[in-house]
């Protein structure tokens, strides 16, 4: 075997191990979610069992009621509402502010820029308690508003739109102004249609971001009817450490990771574009 040939075989071998490493945890979760309780306790086989419909039906409709946890159906619904509210809110708010800082000259423009930039330096993790108090003060605990509104401010998305708008030729603006179009018409009829692909890319990234929120819903919700599915899992896993219900926990895990994974798989191109645009 020549050395090139050996190198190719070794490359494929390493890549197969790598992909297996990425897939295995989710595959095992799927396997666990298709067996009944006794099977998942006496040593799980490596292939799926026959209890898929039973288990998923149970978590969706019934959940782990005996632990005071709601069924997963409503939690998934909450996650959808919150993720979509964050996504649409963030896109709308960022388009508007990106438009303001590129297409207008006004005093405090630089100050506005820096205040927006501050969001990048202050992730929720570093200001947990006071943010909680602010939201509580507004009476927004246990509400969809409290779960989504504080997360729609975004420096990265604003800068993304600024960057997109900077590439729009000035001649277009001049032509629009000569034709008598004001800023709102220009934004609605020219800038937004021209940023379609960027909006799609941002949609994918923000949906994943919103869906995968953990600390925020953990702080915001006491009422189980507002739990999102990602944070709900933690309660189930904790309960499972004492009285194992792994087949149900893993069914929930699969249901919870499916929506963002489907979005990434279906919108691969927009996903990669969004990733590079928002981060770099």
């Amino acid at each position: 075997m020549s050395s090139t040939r050996f190198r190719i075989v070794a490359s494929h071998a390493a890549l197969i191990i790598g992909t297996a490493l990425m897939i295995l945890p989710v595959y095992m979760a799927f396997v666990a979610s298709t067996h009944d309780l006794s099977r998942s306790l006496t040593g799980l086989p490596l292939w799926p069992g026959a209890h898929l419909i039973d288990n998923y039906g149970q978590v969706l409709g019934e959940g782990m009621r005996s632990y005071g946890l709601p069924p997963i159906g409503p939690m998934l619904f909450n996650s959808f509402v919150v993720a979509l509210a964050i996504t649409f809110g963030k896109i709308a708010v960022s388009i508007l502010s990106g438009f303001a800082i590129t297409y207008f000259q006004f005093p405090f423009r630089i100050l506005a820029f820096w205040i927006i930039f501050a969001t990048m330096m202050l992730p929720v993790e570093v200001r947990i308690l006071p943010t909680y108090e602010v939201v509580a003060g507004f009476g927004m605990l246990d509400s969809y508003t409290g779960l989504s509104l504080p997360l729609i401010a975004s420096a990265t998305a604003t800068f993304l739109f600024r960057q997109v708008f900077m590439t729009v030729p000035d001649e277009l603006t001049e032509a629009a102004r000569i034709d008598g179009a004001g800023p709102w018409r220009f934004l609605w009829w020219i800038l937004i249609p021209m940023s379609r692909t960027n909006i799609a890319a941002l949609f994918v990234i923000t949906f994943i971001y919103g869906w995968n929120q953990y600390l925020w819903p953990l702080l915001m919700t006491k009422d189980v009817s507002y739990y999102t599915v990602i944070m709900g899992i933690q309660r189930m896993a904790r309960a499972s450490d004492f009285q194992p219900q792994w087949h149900l926990v893993m069914a929930t895990v699969i249901l919870a990771l499916l929506p963002p994974v489907i979005v990434v798989a279906a919108m691969q191109k927009q996903f990669v574009k969004g990733l590079f645009e928002t981060e770099k």
Binding site: A14, L15, S97, V134, V261, V264
Partner: protein
Amino acid sequence: MRGKRVTFPGMAVPAILLAPQLAVTFVFFVWPAIQSLRSALFRQDAFGMSEEFVFLDNFIKLFAEPDYGQAFGLTLFFALATTVLSMGLALLFAVLADGVVKGAAIYKSLLTWPYAVAPAIAGVLWWFLFNPTIGIFSRALAAIGIDWNHHLNSGQALALVIIASAWKQLSYNFLFFLAGLQTIPKSLLEAAALDGADGFVRFRKIVLPLLMPTTFFLIVTNLVYAFCDTFAVIHATTGGGPGTATTTLIFKIYRDGFESLDLGGSAAQSVILMLLVGTLTIIQFRYIERNIHY
């Protein structure tokens, strides 16, 4: 910051345009941050009824506390281990995926989708694989004589959260390394090959230096990820334990503030983490500004 040459007149319109973003930013970001700073300088009684100005006392107490120093050291170790493990494997897979012809597209999509998995779920997945009684990995380890129990063994608990955190971040790093590799001109590598440089030399002398900007960018984002986002991994699995074996800075802020109700101490910790994350963000932002040409 540059704006457009051709702009619209008026001040009312930009004020309206910026209002939602600035309002949300001020109310939910800037104001709480100021509050953090403020309560870091005060001491509250247990019922929140009164407070007194203590200046830097909370910080001094914090650094005198062995717990905090331990959490700090632990966090640095955790962040470095997660970053090195995740970036190292991602670079390896990116170089290999960039080099193969057959199946390249399949490898790429199979290595990227875990980006969509939430950190909390990544934690639970690995928590399950290593479950002391039924996890397939812990059973495999038992077969070769290693007793795995992350409920009792501190080192193993830490290893678990590092593995789960690195796994979750691998896709992200992989995509950026792959993009970086694709910007390297193939002609450069071919010229080096003609000059007799073998694969390893080409990697070390050409690929690695040209990947430096990507690497640097990723180090900063991975550290920020490890400082902040991994809260979900830890909270959903070890809960900071056993003992304080996986209590990172962010986890300690949460626990001291929400469970022990030590408001001043928690706020002081918040301020320190804010400085840390803020510095990293500025470094990253300056770097991006320099490398992106509009």
